[in-house]
Amino acid sequence: MSFAEPRFLLFLPAALICYFASPKRVRPYTLLAASLVFYWFAGGVFALLVISATAVTVYLTALRLGALRRSDAPKRRRKAPLAACLALNFGLLFLFRYSGRLIPSLGLLLIPGISFYTFQSAGYLIDAYRGKLEPERNILKLALFISFFPQLVIGPISRHSQIADDLFAGHGWNWERARGGISRIIWGYFLKLVIADYAAVPVNAVISSYQNYGGAVIAFAVLLYSFQLYADFAGGISIAIGVGKLVGVTMPENFAQPFFARSLTDYWRRWHITLGAWLRDYLFYSLALSKPLGRLGRVTRRAFGANLGKMIPASVATFAVYIVMAVWHGLSFKTLAYGLLNGGLITLSLYFGPFWEKLRRVTKLDGGRGFGAVFATVRTFVLVVFLRYFARAVSLRAALSMLKRTLLRFEPRALLDGTLGTLGLTAGEYATLAAAIVLLLARDAVAERAVKLGSNFESRLASARPAAQFLLTAAVLALIVYCGVYREGYIASQFIYAQY
């Protein structure tokens, strides 16, 4: 079950009513029950079995790790159960997510959100290993942490320390929190129904038969895809965070105005933040601080000097991170290419860092302000869209072919001669889509500014004039209703009449 299904809109109020009606101490268990019901709708009994397997193994392993730690066991002994449990659960992840490519029939066993909850529970396990937390004694509470329904199928990937207290506190209704929650939910549906679902139409039309279109139309589609993906993902996250807020759980943000990034590195700190943070904390540092990479570092420092030598192990770890990130999205040549490109570009920026610094000082193009900032933002945006070719194309070959077309057969005329009208959206729908994207960018711009000023977006919004808030809310609701609720169901009568 996804957030956009009508079923969810029935499920959510029912779940919330049960939650608030339960006594305080029972509430976490109500949440667990609701999460299991949600997951049953989403993936069936089999999915419930799989996630239970993860929950049980992680629970037992964490307790064991805690016991081993208390008894001051040597590192080698402590590593074994950790490695075993991680291997098991990542093995399950690999099995259900990727084996579909090797054994087609298995691919049909869809375990929704397995990537998310596997990473989330792995993080918990590694934190237990590192002694950062006390292993949970109550298996039901751990189960709730792993399967908490708002974040189960789409994230954000939370740390135990971030949400455990709120999750188990059984917070009651709070008007302020509810306002924040409902606003985020409304905004999330706006992003999903008005931007993502509509942008998908021309994107799919072009990407699935890119050979029929000139480079300009392809570039347009990939650009639109960038917005579609952002709106779809951030929209879902917004709904997730909003629902969490309603029950008093503050989940970490997953997006921080990614299109305002000044560099690719900056971008990955603003996009899918929790995955990046997870990879940084559990993969990158583990690798970078590991013995093998340490030895490599000594070798390279001796061979290439201090600067370069230091960067090589760092870039190995970086590549590892981006490859895992890419594979997380899917196992194919194009996602590998995507990961390698990202890793490569970021590594390059690491190497050329000092050079850019000198250039900036000479040209006085300060990346922090004015023209320099705009240039950096635009450059990063173009780079991100370029990388999206690999993310969205149907295969690596298609991506390269699409790029070739974009560069060599641009045909800008196609943008004005009505081709865009054949992609499945009417002029009115394009206009609405454009307006909605502008609204999204405006909101992000305000939020970005708020960050600079040290305040936060929500409080800025809350302090705006009531009339403006009212109009904005009404406009957003109207768009959600028109584009989402009423999307289907319109058949021009002449088509029906024709059959009579």
């Binding site: 009531p466 808030q469 169901g489 058949i491 021009a492 029906i496």
Partner: protein, 564 residues
Amino acid sequence: MTAKRWFLMLAAAALLVAAAVAGLNILADPFGVFGDRLLGWYAYDMTQNPKAAKVAYIDAHSGEYDAFILGASGSASFSPEKLNEYTGLRWYNAFNYGADMAYTEKLAEYLAGSCEVRQFFLALSLTAAQKYEMPQNGAIEWRPPQLGGAGGWFRFAFANPRFSFAKLRDYRANGYLQEPFDVFVPETGVYDKSSRDVEPIGSLDAYLAAYPEFTTKIGVVAELTRTDECMASVARLKAMCDARGIGLTVVVPPLLDRSLSAYRAEDLADFFAKLGEITPYYDYTRFIPSDPRFYYDTTHFRNCAGDMILADIYGDDGVYVPSGETEETELRVLLYHSVTESGGEDSVSAADFRRDMERLRDGGYTPVGLSDIAGYVYRGAELPERAVLIRLDDGYRDNYEVAYPILREFGYKAVIFAIGVSVGRDVYKDTDAPITPHFTAEEAREMTGSGLIEIQSHTYDMHMVAELDGADCRRGLLRLDGESEADYAAALTGDFLRSRSELEAATGQPVYALAYPYGLHDKLSEVVLGKLGVTATFSSEYGVNTLVRGLPQSLLCLKLWAFG
């Protein structure tokens, strides 16, 4: 803003959005459910949802009708005007496309309860025994609130606002002619067939080429699976009529053989047997020729066929009904303009004209008059085998001086199409430019008095000449650039009415035919002339015409023939 106040604001915003949606739907009213007070475009509403819109329309005019035609598309071609004539009641055609007998029964009950109904006319198609209590696929099939449609008014108020936007958009694009979004005539409830009823029809091959759907194969056998439920509804309807003293006429409408043969014989026998147990009925399934030309498409027979059925029920002998097979014949039309003693660049010489008449006689051709061919089509009169219509355009005096004596000599009939503004003139309108002289009204009366010549319309002043009319010049009787459709319709109407009244005053003969100046015509002009009662038109295309008994469209855009 405090949180609680924010929630109030949210509720207010949500209410605003709901009110906007409902407000738009109620004001634009694409289904006519709310009375369509703003735009009053009932034809559109009925096209979107005939069930809801017709009930609303009838309710709004409840005192005006006391008899209703019921059924599905098979009832569309029965004319309330004809029924008014035959029965003296005030009829409305309340058919709905896609209606099944379950709905028709409910509708009849509703009408009987809300109006003083004296009679129902039910056209029961065989499809009523195939579909019963059909699911409602979307807003265009929602039942009217008055008939207990689920969700009632609320559902229509919160229908997809795209329907309302589409209506507003179509309103701006609406033209004079019937379009796919307004297919009804609201005042009578029938389909607006003004365009289809003026399409020229000739041979069967030509018609099939234009409408290939008549030749596609029907692969499946049509099953009459809901006969019992259908007949139960009919029985209840009959009982209700009997109880309330409402007359009920039940008719099974015509079908093409290809459609009829898709049913199993036993199913058909069962259908009619069960129907016969409930009520007397008329079986018109094979009444008209199984000829696609009598149908608009594979399921809808023409208005003229509906008229034939009504004439049969009510004993009107003035309407011709072909028996069984199509009765058709060929007609050739010879065109002349000026006929002078010596001939010349623009005229035929008397000698040549005489020779043409001899060739007709020797070739076994028989010239006939306009009223002869009209009689063939409308009254089933006889026409000779190789009928030829001699046509003289413009109304030149030489027709009277040269052609008319020759025709009299041979005893041949002819039709002259006279340009109204030039009758009796030898200069062009109010200029001094000389033109070939035209005959006068007295000369016209003399010719028509002989019984050989009929004089019909070549428009009053829509046969303009570019060199003489300059910037005001029309191309034939077509619309001027930039002239609105409504203005054009008025202009053409005015012109034809003047032409007709002056010619009728001059000759004492009815004027019901028109030859298109320069052979130019289009759909809009055809529809306008059709509404004015023009039943025969002549073009300048070449070909042999096919006249069909009982098919008025076979008299339209008659083509020219040249001696081989």
